[in-house]
């Protein structure tokens, strides 16, 4: 393990201009990533390491390409017409954009939660959580197996106690914050290695937002999390490292406390002190 880490740390200096702390090993590696919408160049030559069992926050002003970058990490970007991606994104050393890699398989390993809660309105709470489970090679998972997975996902999403007595009622009866945690549970049910959160608290009230933040902080003990947020306090509270994006470029990435106390780049400093954005 030690040698692997050393190699990974070497890679950092080779690949990335931005120094990233060497421990623990990176789970995802982004290498000169470019993304377009039609002729709009939304993400420009980004290199990044995403560390395992850590929360990586991505901050930056609106339109800086942070959401597009996130959507490149699980190949959701390409579902938009006219979208285009170039560069490499590695998950555990394998390029997810390589020829022959199935985008659907990628998304099963890298879960995603969106800005607005998106429960499936015609499904019950249980069916919502189980929506990502489907027939495996061995056949459809049994009812008890599904119930087990649903319970575990809801427990991990800190929602079990609130919904355990009404699993078969409609998901639309939940509050906004509960719906968002339901969506997190739904993403957790397929047991992804990485969870991407695209401004998960932007549409929630402060108390619900806090619940989601606490959940994110808990989840990092056994998975890798990347969170896009326009709320700098949130980035400071929940993340271990922070990346600052501006005009589609990764300006700076470092330990969160360093970004918020002694950023290396003056643009980062200008942004976090509220001089623009």
């Amino acid at each position: 393990m030690a040698t692997e880490r050393a190699v990974a740390a070497d890679d950092v200096s080779l690949v990335s201009a931005t120094p990233v702390a060497d421990s623990p090993a990176p789970r995802m590696r982004v290498d000169s990533l470019d993304a377009w919408f039609g002729s709009v160049h939304a993400v420009k030559g980004v290199n990044m390491h995403v560390r395992d069992r850590r929360v990586t926050a991505i901050i930056g002003p609106s339109g800086c390409g942070k959401s597009t970058f996130l959507r490149c990490l699980n190949r959701m970007h390409e579902t938009v017409p006219t979208a285009r991606v170039e560069g490499e994104v590695e998950l555990d050393g394998r390029d997810i954009y390589a020829r022959g890699v199935n985008a659907i398989a990628v998304r099963r390993h890298i879960g995603m939660v969106f800005q607005r809660p998106t429960p499936f309105p015609t499904m019950s709470i249980r069916d919502n959580v189980a929506a990502g489970l489907r027939a495996l090679e061995s056949g459809r998972p049994s009812r008890t197996k599904i119930d087990e997975v649903v319970e575990r996902a809801l427990v991990r999403a800190a929602l079990w106690d609130e919904v355990k007595d009404r699993l078969s009622t409609s998901a639309t009866g939940l509050s906004g914050g509960q719906q968002q945690r339901l969506c997190i549970a739904r993403a957790l049910a397929t047991d992804p290695t990485v969870l991407l959160l695209d401004e998960p608290t932007a549409s929630l009230d402060p108390i619900s937002a806090q619940a989601v933040e606490e959940l994110v902080y808990e989840l990092r003990s056994d998975m890798t999390i990347v969170i896009v947020t326009h709320n700098m306090q949130q980035a400071a509270r929940v993340s271990d490292s922070t990346a600052f994006f501006l005009h589609g470029e990764l300006v700076e990435m470092d330990e969160t406390n360093r970004i918020f106390t002694t950023p290396a780049d003056e643009r980062t400093e200008a942004y976090i002190t509220g001089r623009f954005g």
Partner: protein, 323 residues
Amino acid sequence: MTLPERAIIATRQEDDGVTLRIQGAAIGDRVYSGAITFFALCIPFLLLAIAWEIGSAGWPALHKFGFGFLTSSDGDPVQGEFGAAPAIYGTIVSSIIALVLATPLAIGVSLFLSELAPRWLRQPVGFLVDLLAAIPSVVYGLWGIFVLLPVLRDPVMPFLRDTLHLDKTGLFSGPAYGPSMLAAGIILAIMVLPYIASVSREVLLAVPRSQREAALALGATRWESIWGAVLPYARSGIVGGIILGLGRALGETMAVTMLIGNRPEIAASLFAPGYTMASLLANEFSEASSDAHLSALMAVGFVLFLITVIVNAIARWLVWRVR
């Protein structure tokens, strides 16, 4: 000190002006709301007036033949006997055939247009589907007589009956004349398809992108995201479209009259000719010589009217309940 006072007076005057204008607007509002309320009430009043008129004209027949009018098949206007059962049966069965054939097709078309078709193809194909609704009913009837009936006579009906051995079901047996319940159902299917497809397409396009993305982000294939997220979200709207199509099918007259064979009998086989309430009215209104006959026709019209109202009420309830 003088200046502020003037300013206050000026403000007060302006306030009065504003108040006056608001009062004027209030009178205009009342006149306007009174007028549109009147117009809005005209519609239900018209509906009730028509219902009452037809109902009272048909009352003698309903009174004379009682409930048997709805269940009897003895229709002999010359003898003064009237039974609407074959026509009621034909209306319902031909509409069911139409929906069974048209619904999957229409949902397929709307899914293609909203999800799968390349952008440049959506407009022209959508336009052509909508155009189906613009073709006059009598043209459908003509096409049915000269194209659909010969094709049904040979090879479709013999194929269903003899090659697939569907005659054992009873639904596809007997001689293949051509004019039949099946022919009427098929032509109705073509005629209601644009209504169902058009409504379904609009509803599918209104499904938020976030729903598709949520499914895709879970590792769903395109098919799974359509089947698991998009269609359920659009379900109630699609049901509404189907009901709209059903309303069309129940009342369609000309094309059905030209193709159904107009024989007032209830037959199990769809190959046999039948009758519908609308075609009965179209065929007999000009020959209704006796008061009893006219009253019987009015009664049929009333029943058709009632069935349409009930079907629509059930549809509304279904859509409301699904929501």
